[in-house]
Symmetry: C2
Subunit: 233 residues, 2 copies
């Protein structure tokens, strides 16, 4: 802001997009899924793209991410965090800087939100490991978001954003397995998590075909993810 | 980009700023320092601000960060990474989204670059723990950058960006102490680092008042910081 010139970044527009992750149950391992929106105009008409839209002059970036996500998919995430600003000169026919967010949505809420009357018709969920060629640089953006999620799940309680309030240790392990894309040893996982201060046992049990499994919840006194001086989203 | 309106983010300008860290030797513990530029025009005329400038329509964000840093401070960092996009509506009298980078500069290079003939006169270095009230939301930005640096130094070899190619374990510990803002136990630190694959002993020693200390270098086969699919800066 110290050397304004004739251009002063005129002709550059700011968009906001969101990579919103959820899990879908599948025999074997759960799949990590994201919703995509089919484009109805050029450029990339007919191609799948991340939900998003233009930043409005009167709204902040976080608000724009939540608004454009709701407008395009009718989804409302349990966790939303800024990921990265993508601004390569040739990423779009016109000059667009996209501030990208990533979000988590509990799978039980996905079903409810998809069944809602106002759910848009041009939205579909895709397995992140089996995506088509997306519009713009959106494949690269998804790759980066998956990498960040896989890194973050190791050192924060981020898996919570994909689970209902109470869950079994097996359900928690399945979230980690879906995010990390690999199997974890059940007894090692149980030993590691049972010793964690972030996890609290409840007096409830999940019953069914198998023997009853204790339900746990996250200790709400610990932040979902430490965002430092920027505080929670 | 799916619901263009009459505004399409018109009136929003994109700036790029950089928080560039270095260390200054001080009796006791080294200080973590950043350079600031005194503003020569409104808004905030006369106040100190982060080095930066407007994004040009024909350059990418990384290039803009390096260019505006060179133009305002004549500094060229050893490590440069995107930090966060700041876009609150009221952060500037006009609507500006600032894509902020953070960078590291070896202290031996700071002195060389400051002594250069083209070094600008309106740049000064400040201790991050003793900053004046900065222009815009720049105090908040610096707080966030320091928090990220302190987090990152724990799980990556980021300290390398603040050191010359060869260094003693004491010098490395002093970098960690300055970044983390606390003393570390010398023998624990030595034990931890000597077992690390990232650190390679050389056959050279630093001599002086104290007994000779072996020089180490970082294993260049390991990335400075894993940036995933986005690759190195």
């Amino acid at each position: 802001m110290t050397s304004p010139s004739a251009t002063e970044s005129a002709g550059i527009r700011v968009a906001v997009s969101t990579v919103i992750f959820s899990l879908r149950s599948r025999p074997g391992a759960d799949a990590l899924m994201i919703p995509l929106v089919r484009r109805t105009r050029e450029p990339f008409e007919g191609a799948w793209a991340l939900p998003g839209g233009w930043l409005d002059e009167r709204e902040g970036l976080d608000d724009a991410a939540a608004r454009t996500l709701a407008e395009t998919t009718a989804l409302s995430p349990s966790y939303l965090e800024q990921l990265y600003a993508f601004g390569d000169v040739d990423r779009s026919p016109t000059r667009v800087v996209s501030v990208v967010y990533w979000a988590l949505l509990r799978s039980d809420l996905v079903d409810a939100q998809r069944a809602a009357e106002d759910a848009p018709e041009n939205v579909e969920w895709f397995d992140v490991d089996d995506l088509p060629a997306l519009a713009f640089d959106h494949n690269r953006i998804v790759d980066y978001a998956v990498w960040r999620l896989r890194n973050k799940v190791g050192y924060s309680r981020i898996a919570h954003g994909l689970l209902p309030d109470e869950f079994t240790l097996t359900e928690l392990r399945e979230v980690y397995e879906a995010v990390l894309g690999r199997r974890l040893d059940p007894s090692n996982f149980r030993r590691l998590l049972e010793g964690s201060e972030a996890l609290l046992p409840t007096e409830s049990f999940r019953t069914g075909k198998h023997r009853p499994a204790r339900l746990y919840r996250y200790n709400s006194e610990v932040e979902l993810a430490d965002r430092g001086p920027l505080g929670p989203a």
